[in-house]
Symmetry: C2
Subunit: 252 residues, 2 copies
């Protein structure tokens, strides 16, 4: 692990959480001398990864990170497959559809198909949700015991709403059920008033590479039986296109 690179990424991470920060704030949060942080910041700035507000001198993320993000999406085979099947799933379920991948303890949304009712909706590509509080995250974690252990070892689970599962054992119990059905649900655990239903996506090597699912108003729970089937089918179809031999894969 190269120290300065690690520090640079940690700077980006802090900036990600706090939007705009002064050099001294940044240094305080990282527990590093300001001059050290300054050197790294200037390097990041030269590449457009961060930029400094002319008026306040505070630092924030720069346009170069956006460029990188877009290229990541283009390289993902999963995404191109998800686009096709999301459309169908949205039509069949009448709900917005999200596809996501796992990074450490969070789900990153890589595709978002708006509800097919024609209303204006914010694109959600790139947003992150704690894995333990989302249907997508649970669908993936159920088949990734190592990632789950790592997540639980890291510290207490963050509570998002009163419904968030923050007990490790309770989460494990839920995930056992998820693995049995290849279907994960979430009711107001991340956002009040919102529920989710998701299924895991596997690739040719039989490992979970993502999950696809629907988002619906909590009051519309439970969805029709056909909807459960539609989510599982979307996940299975994408998995097959990625070369997965079976769906679902048996965990462990």
């Amino acid at each position: 692990m190269i120290q300065s690179v690690d520090r640079a990424i940690r700077i980006l991470g802090v900036l990600q959480g706090a939007r705009r920060l002064s050099l001294s704030d940044l240094a305080a949060r990282l527990e590093l001398p300001p001059s050290t942080v300054h050197g790294i910041l200037k390097t990041l700035q030269a590449h457009g990864m961060v930029l400094q507000d002319r008026d306040s001198n505070r630092y924030q993320l720069g346009p170069a990170v956006l460029k990188l993000g877009n290229v990541y999406l283009d390289t993902l085979e999963l995404r191109s497959r998800a686009v096709t099947w999301s459309e169908e799933l949205a039509r069949r379920s009448g709900c917005a559809v999200r596809t996501g991948v796992l990074t450490h303890d969070e789900v990153v949304i890589i595709h978002h198909e708006p509800r097919p009712d024609g209303s204006r909706q914010m694109p959600e590509v790139g947003i992150v949700i704690p894995a333990h509080a989302s249907a997508l995250g649970k669908a993936m974690l159920a088949y990734l015991p190592d990632q789950l252990d790592e997540l639980l070892a890291k510290g207490p689970l963050r509570s998002m709403t009163s419904e968030t599962v923050i007990d490790g054992d309770e989460l494990r119990k839920q995930l056992d059920e998820v693995a049995r059905d290849a279907l994960a649900a979430e009711r107001e655990e991340a956002v009040l008033g919102e529920a989710g239903l998701a299924a895991p996506i596997f690739d040719a090597s039989g490992l979970v590479v993502g999950a696809i699912g629907i988002v619906l108003p909590a009051v519309d729970w439970a969805p029709a039986d056909a909807t459960f089937g539609a989510v599982r089918e979307a996940a299975r179809n994408i998995s097959r296109e990625l070369g997965a031999a079976h769906w679902p894969i048996q965990p462990r």
Copy 2:
């Protein structure tokens, strides 16, 4: 400039251009020993900035970059203003609307309003276009002589189509006209069959912070007079909301 951080970002940049690369390819392109690149790569990997394909061992960008990109968009005041006015501009012009910012020699799209005809269109947020070959880029460069000098000093302009302006003097001449009208046009200079029209956006300090414009099929050139006015108005409205005292600002 911290060497290892600089190298890390260069690695990300190469990965951005080439999608997936083996360690030796990557090392060869950067003219660095493989072991040096490997150390940096492993650090980036630990943070999810890059990931390694299990089968081929090749490296590619990871989900963490996508997360960063999304947060960058959220911090941009310009973007939230652009969303409102893009909608109006799309309605008035009947065209797709793009808003972009400048990084070095490229325009990064930070908002994309699809053509209001209801057809399915790929979201274009995050894509990059060489500044000299786009209406958005010209609109900004006309008011940023320093950036223009830097761009021209860096080397020959990249040709995208037969229409791309690759002569520095010719570009300067065009930009003088752009600065006079506060309106930049582009006809098939980046993509054959596509034309653009854009106007610069200024902030409270009177500097260019972005540009907004429309994309239309080259065969539909020239747009109606009202459309020219609509583009300028959108740029002026956003500039005013950002605190700009005047629009356009006089260059130099």
